[in-house]
């Protein structure tokens, strides 16, 4: 049985599954129920000067019938008195000493940072997370993503926090930047013990097309909010991997963004995360999802021979390459398993209209024919096919030695003739 114990920047938890700083981690009662359900850690909903929230606050993006596949919110940090939060943190740690309670913080001045950090640690925090990511409401007040988008300020505030803290400090980064690297490095230079990413993405989730008001609607108005949920995972994976492969970075990462199940968690870990944080899927399905996350991860680790989380971290990072270093002579073509094909021909229309016109209907059968001389191996047919393993992309032994664009640009590496480019 694999050991799921996680050490993320010095914060130890029985498994890598943490609640993200968000509504599911808003109160002691909630976090304690989450720990009972199996969550290894929780990042407490951001503490700061308590705010007043609007009604309504959340917006859902339904994709192909999947409700909340994308999600956004215009809720701000905690609206509960600080002393109540600290008392509940204390009670939670007392009941669950082995679980990680990380307190998310967002204030303005150095004095405020010092004060709130000391109170958090007094309450029993195992770690701190500096909220430099919130993209709405707080950034207009000079906090949240306003800090995360400005490396100098990021570094300075991180340094304050590290100075006053006796527990590990994670910096939560905003994805609302062109390149995540300088922001991760700013946290590192400030002395952070790790980073969390991504916070939510600036977004308008939708528009009420009858009222002509964006959503979520607050009376006759709305505002941009933070986008999250399953749909943002690819963006989060990219930013995680960007930092993980940066040789100047080398800090633990707590991965966030679209983690819905153990598979997502494995992907984040393979691209460099040590722990993962979950909010939206818990909001949609409840704390109980962690049971499958723990089982699934454990079974995966057993089947792949991983004894500890550390053995997995970053396993796929070396295979994350620049485009110019990809082998242009590597060739695949689509193969359709006629015994599995149900004849929907969704692949045919996709290939004809959206790819390279190399899948064709045939007389006397609904199974399409692949014109391998035209197939560029793009994957589109395999992506749209509703039958698992019906279409596979098969490697062609074309006899060409590997050659990349970067090699080609310096006169090395001979490229095979292009396919489908006539």
């Amino acid at each position: 049985m694999a050991d799921l114990t996680t050490n993320c920047g010095g914060i130890i938890s029985p498994n890598p599954f943490w609640l993200a700083s968000a509504p599911p981690a808003n109160s002691g009662a909630q976090v304690q129920r989450a720990f009972e359900a199996g969550w290894g850690g929780a990042v407490w909903k951001t503490l700061g000067q308590p705010i007043q929230n609007v009604s309504s606050r959340f917006g859902g993006h339904t994709i192909g019938g999947a409700r909340g596949a994308g999600f956004n919110n215009i809720e701000l940090i905690t609206d509960r008195p600080l002393e109540v939060n600290f008392r509940e943190i204390y009670e939670t740690k007392k009941r669950f000493p082995k679980h990680a309670v990380i307190v998310s913080l967002m204030v303005e001045t150095e004095d405020e940072w010092r004060d709130i950090i000391l109170r958090s640690i007094d309450a029993g925090a195992d770690g701190l997370e500096l909220n430099f990511g919130c993209p709405h409401g707080m950034c207009e007040r000079g906090m949240g993503s306003a800090v995360g988008q400005e490396p100098r300020i990021n570094e300075r505030i991180t340094a304050w926090a590290v100075k006053y803290s006796t527990v590990p400090v994670l910096v939560k980064l905003t994805p609302n930047v062109g390149d995540i690297n300088p922001h991760g490095l700013a946290a590192k230079h400030g002395g952070a013990h790790g980073v969390s990413l991504i916070n939510t993405i600036k977004s308008i989730i939708g528009v009420d097309i009858d009222r002509f008001v964006p959503e979520p609607r607050v009376g006759t108005q709305s505002s941009n909010g933070g986008y999250c949920g399953a749909a943002v995972k690819p963006i989060a994976l990219h930013m995680t991997a960007q930092l993980a492969r940066n040789p100047g970075f080398r800090l633990p990462i707590s991965g966030i963004g679209g983690v819905c199940n153990w598979r997502d968690a494995v992907e984040f870990i393979l691209l460099g995360a040590t722990s993962v944080q979950v909010c939206t899927e818990v909001m949609l399905k409840g704390y109980r999802i962690v049971e499958d996350m723990i089982d699934g991860l454990s079974n995966y680790m057993d089947s792949h021979g991983f004894a500890t989380i550390d053995q997995m971290v970053g396993k796929a990072v070396p295979a994350y390459s620049e485009w110019g270093d990809l082998d242009l002579n590597y060739e695949t073509v689509a193969k359709i398993d006629a015994t599995k094909c149900i004849g929907c021909q969704v692949c045919v229309v996709a290939c004809h209209d959206g790819a390279h016109q190399c899948l064709h209907p045939q007389e006397g059968t609904r199974v399409p024919r692949v014109d391998e001389s035209e197939c560029v191996g793009c994957n589109l047919c395999k992506i749209v096919c509703p039958v698992p393993d019906c279409i596979s992309m098969v490697t062609v032994d074309n006899g060409w030695a590997p050659a990349t664009w970067n090699q080609h640009m310096v006169g090395a590496g001979k490229l095979r003739p292009k396919k489908g480019a006539h």
Partner: protein, 439 residues
Amino acid sequence: MAHDKHAATSNALPADRGEAPFSDYKVAYSPTQAVAEATRCLYCSDAPCMNACPTRIDVAQFIRKIATGNDRGSAKTILDANILGMSCARVCPVETLCVGACVYNTLGHPPIQIGRLQRYVTDRALDEDWQFYTAGPDSGKKVALIGAGPASLACAHHLRRSGHACTIFEKRDVIGGLNTTGVAPYKMKADASLHEVDWLLEIGGIDIKTGVEVGRDVTFDQLERDYDAVFFGAGLGLDSRLGVPGEDLAGVDGAVAWIERMKLQPVDLSGVRHALVIGGGNTAMDCMRELLGLKVPNVTLVYRGTQAGMPGYAHEWKAAQVLGAKAQWQAVPVAFEGDGRVQRAKLALLDGNKQPTGETVLVDADLVLMAIGQGKLGGMLAGLSGINIAKGVVQADEHGFTGRPKWYVGGDARNGGKEVVNAAAEGKQAALAIHKSFG
């Protein structure tokens, strides 16, 4: 359904008619159910469901429109291909057509419930009186249509879109043909059919002369002389008879005639303990389910062949069996007995070649429905040279043209007795051909 603006036709039907107690076998979808089912559709390319539809409804497209909340566009996609989309949604044997062709069957998943989705959106179209079509500018051409059933109605509606004036001659007082008088009431009741007819006639310019029998009240020569084209959509004739002793006893009835009475008038089955349905086609299946639905205690199918060889749909027989249907396979009545009213039937047992084994059995029977086919009406046109009639069925090319200038045919009169959707398709084809013939 909301019938307020169609009160005249709907209210003409007695509320206590025989079909009244039936409720829908396949219940209507709620909007939530419809969207959920529509979202499941794979949106196949060159979709097998569309190719299985005689009217070639673009099923994938109309279902996608339901999924996106474009019900109006969805209804129009259906009705563009088949103006009788509402009734076809209810009466089509979808299990053997579109739903049977759904690729999900191959995947081992439940197929998309295309009929129920089509019903969902066409019910909306009719209930909310969405009208998508207007009559074309007057072409000066006139078309006579014989019979006010699905074939003629589909034909006339298409002709009106091109501006041709249409007159339908119907010998009955009630319009809609078998959609009104013959559909099993757990699929569609007569008032729904009349509602559809009223909705369809809103295009205007379709004059229906009821109670007028062509060949008796007006001659074929007159039609040919007075109209620029004639469409023969008279359907089928009377129920066939076996020609055995006692067949004229009270209680021995033709299936189609009995169904028509049950749908339009009150029926009294209180004295019926044992009903026999003679035949193995889908009319027989309907009779079985109808009699059982009307609480006749013992209903037995008598068919010459085996269950496997029966032309009726397997899904229909399965549904009848659930209600308690019994069967006497490989048997045929050779006499009916009774004192003024049928009480018993004498059945000859048949072998695998449907030949008598010499054995007979006597069974109780106080109602017998003969569902062994209907007469063909092609003979009505026998006097018109250039029209070929084979076994009573009017012969035509794929556009419904008979070979005699001006004369077209569609529906059961052309195909010998198929589904409403075939009649709708043939009516549409003929309309296009007639329009083309006008140049």
